[in-house]
Amino acid sequence: GQQVMQIPQYQHVQEGEDFTTYCNSSTTLSNIQWYKQRPGGHPVFLIQLVKSGEVKKQKRLTFQFGEAKKNSSLHITATQTTDVGTYFCAGRRPGGSQGNLIFGKGTKLSVKP
């Protein structure tokens, strides 16, 4: 079945360093969503990308959707300790309004102050 691969699984950075997580789908997606889950918390929606090549920014976070709509990335500039958590991408397959989201396995970010 369709898979959404996400790398790296873990990332340890020094506060102030940049961080990037990547998502790749085996098939074309209709859109991709990103979620953040703080330690002990629940996933919280960050953003959705729909268009081919789309780039969206939220303060220090930059989200990209690939031209082929098969890959996506989340880049955090100058990480802070508040960025700690697990970041999930979730791709929605095209064809059918009931298409469910396929979650990547997440990238767990730890930030050393």
Binding site: P43, L101, F103
Partner: protein, 119 residues
Amino acid sequence: DTAVSQTPKYLVTQMGNDKSIKCEQNLGHDTMYWYKQDSKKFLKIMFSYNNKELIINETVPNRFSPKSPDKAHLNLHINSLELGDSAVYFCASSLRPGLAGLSNTGELFFGEGSRLTVL
């Protein structure tokens, strides 16, 4: 007011028991979900209901039975609990993906999770 609330938050039980987790959303959404998150944090969809109708039923043992009495509630009943059922179970809701409206991203609103430990 909590948007998606699930109870209980913690559940510790013995193998072989039957248990239920309840979920309610007050967002007016028409689609609700159950996800299982294992110890490696992998989020796996189990069920999806749209207006009380089962839409998605992934490969889940039939010991798991969802019930949706109305579109604001989706409960999960688990029979004959096994060690491998230990996980955090998240309820979520959304507007139906594909429903017209530029503001509808179909984003999921998750509950706080129910941590199930089977001994």
